[in-house]
Amino acid sequence: MTADTGIVTHTPSETARLAGPTQPSALNDPKVRAIGYQLVLAIFVIAFGWWITGNVIENLRRANIASGFDFLSGRAGFEILFSLIPFSANESYGRAFFVGLLNTAYVSVIGIILATIIGFTVGIARLSPNFLLRSIATIYVEFFRNIPPLLQLLFWYKAVLALLPSPRAGFVLPGDIFLNNRGLILPKPVAEAGAGIVFAAAVLAIIAAIFVSRWATQRRVLTGATFPTVKVVLALLFGLPCLAFVIMGGPFTMDVPVLQGFNFRGGMVVAPEFMALLLGLSVYTGAFIAEIVRGGILAVSKGQTEAAGSLGLTRTQMLRLVIVPQAMRVIIPPLTNQYLNLTKNSSLAVAIGYPDLVAVFAGTVLNQTGQAIEVIAITMLVYLTMSLLTSALMNWFNLRMALVER
């Protein structure tokens, strides 16, 4: 008992005996014994892992199933609906892996941004003094939070987007934008000579904006003088690239989609599979984030609101300057959780045909090569890495937002 719990209780007679001249054996020392147990356990875990790996390799060899990672350089031989990097059937399985990985990252990042915007808007709306706004926000949260995400994806894909008309009978929106059951088809800007200057101007504007806002904060801390930071930054971010665009004489042409044969040619296509997945994930996760935001705001003591009010701040100013910065400390840890959930839930894409990592790599590639163990191991490793990266990033952000105590 004593060795197990580490809590040593002695009767008075035992205490007397222990205090005697004879040194107790090291084997009876609870600390030594605990370390011993840990060592034995560690050895067994390592041996178990070693044996499992050896067993798998041996059995694969015996069953004549190819193993190893050579398959990654083999020719893929299949096409993928949607890819951020150029891909054709002549590329390798390894490249197909990156296509899937990027597609997962793409929908996750945009989904996280959208879900955050939805979550913060709805979360704040739930605390609004306006009855209508508050009720709508409550209904949204209760509705979407309590329906399984897979069902929601199928709803968006099969009940909403699948009902769009065929390309020939589709909707024509202003600005050469088309909406039909092949997706949202937009004109694509094509860069021409001089476009580099516009991009350079945009980068320059971002750097300048960061510099200006830092300088303004520093000056405010030192002198108390305010500076219209938001207006100046916006002017920089939009003005500079626009100026470059005009000076270079508009170095872009639009690749306008044209209906030809069955489908549109040219332009960019936002596939309905992507739209359904993005909508499903961000609307679902947004509902959870809304509750986290509401909880975070409610965690800020009422005295803070009253103090801010007595200073004459408007409601917007109260939120932006007093409430939200303090609420963020409560919000960020559970928010990280939601971001991880969204990333992991993106693997539900396989149900609606969006070519994410699971669909492309753990689906098609696994089946064409038959190397289940390698493919699944890589896929799990990728999700693990993505989750840990998100966690690390959010921990860093949390540390920055944490209360600095002097």
Binding site: D4, Y37, F44, N55, A63, N263, A359, N367, G370, A372
Partner: protein
């Protein structure tokens, strides 16, 4: 707590060690559990689909039953595992099923790199396209720019890319894991065309709301020899599945049917027929690890290849597919069995 952990781990390791030794003798394990566990399609009319009473029927299903008839003398001693194209090989490799009879194309890489062995071809197929008549397309070569629905993890997915690349035309693949989803997306208009094996196209067309509004294009773009698959390395079990198929062909060739098998066993003077039905004390079954009357019970319970074909996909079924390549070699087809002797 720590004290209790050690025996648990030891126990786990021991259990894993005994479970880890994969049994090579499939026949022994099948006999021990009393039924054949057979992987089939999740729903392909004519090949493997549950009927209105919930019983699995179809050409591939009959092959599972045929193997049960050979092993146990009872075609009902079989259990079915419906599998998507994506899960089928893993299920077989891992030992979850004893055989895979799921309109699976025989290819070299599947034979040599995946630890599998094909046991024959029970249906010679080829890949085709189906489109809506309203589209006004009469050839696959006119599908330039089309969106095409296809099932993931199939040879179909690869042939599709090869065919379009070979003809220098473009397409957009829309890929789903389950065939139901492929069909639904095609019917909903997400794709201009759907592609799979021609037999499948005819079968699925029957399930569409308006079968007449769809047309199967004339091009057959690939060879798709479909057949039952077993794990590599178990020759005995491979022989049982292979010779079950061959016995069905031999029976058709020598005119043995489920109706006349009893009579032929008693009265036939043809040495071939007598050998197949073990009417001359042949011991072919014993050598394979099954009863000597294996072929007799097989034909008695399942009929010959022609009967199986007819009732599932041929003239006696709603599909009404011609025998074509699947006719016996003696009738201009490709179905040919090595002799049972």
């Amino acid at each position: 707590m720590k004290k209790h952990l050690l025996p648990v781990i030891l126990g786990l390791a021991g259990a894993a060690m005994t479970a880890g030794v994969a049994s090579a003798a499939t026949l022994d394990s099948v006999k021990a559990k009393g039924f054949v566990q057979c992987g089939v399609n999740t729903g392909l009319p004519g090949f493997a689909a549950p009927d209105d009473k919930g019983n699995w029927t179809g050409l591939d299903v009959d092959y599972c039953k045929a193997v049960a008839a050979v092993v146990f003398g009872d075609s009902t001693k079989v259990k079915f595992t419906p599998l998507s194209a994506k899960d089928r090989f893993t299920a077989l490799q891992s030992g979850e099923i004893d055989m895979l009879s799921r309109n699976t194309t025989w290819t070299m890489s599947r034979d040599t790199q995946m630890g599998l062995t094909f046991a024959g071809v029970n249906y010679y197929d080829g890949q085709g396209f189906i489109v809506k008549k309203a589209l006004g397309v009469d050839s696959a070569l006119k599908l330039d720019g089309a969106s095409i629905c296809v099932q993931s993890g199939t040879t179909t997915e690869l042939n599709l890319a090869d065919y379009f690349a070979g003809n220098n035309i473009k397409f957009t693949p829309v890929v789903f894991e389950k065939v139901d989803e492929v069909n639904a997306a095609y019917e909903a208009g997400r794709c201009d065309a759907m592609t799979t094996d021609a037999s499948g196209l005819y079968a699925y067309r029957l399930t569409f709301q308006q079968p007449d509004a769809h047309i199967v294009l004339p091009e057959i773009i690939s060879k798709e020899p479909l057949g039952p698959v077993v794990r590599a390395g178990d020759v005995q079990w491979l022989n049982i599945v292979k010779w079950t198929h061959d016995a069905l062909l031999e029976a058709e060739e020598y005119g043995i049917t489920s109706k006349n098998v009893d009579e032929l066993k008693k009265s036939s003077t043809n040495p071939n027929v007598k050998r197949i039905l073990a009417a001359d004390d042949s011991k072919f079954g014993e050598a394979m690890g099954v009863p000597n009357t294996w072929a007799y019970t097989l034909i008695k319970q399942m009929g010959n290849y022609g009967e199986i074909f007819d009732r599932n996909v041929g003239a006696g079924s709603p599909l009404k597919i011609e025998r074509g390549l699947n006719a016996l070699w003696s009738k201009g087809g490709l179905q040919y069995s090595p002799p049972i002797r």
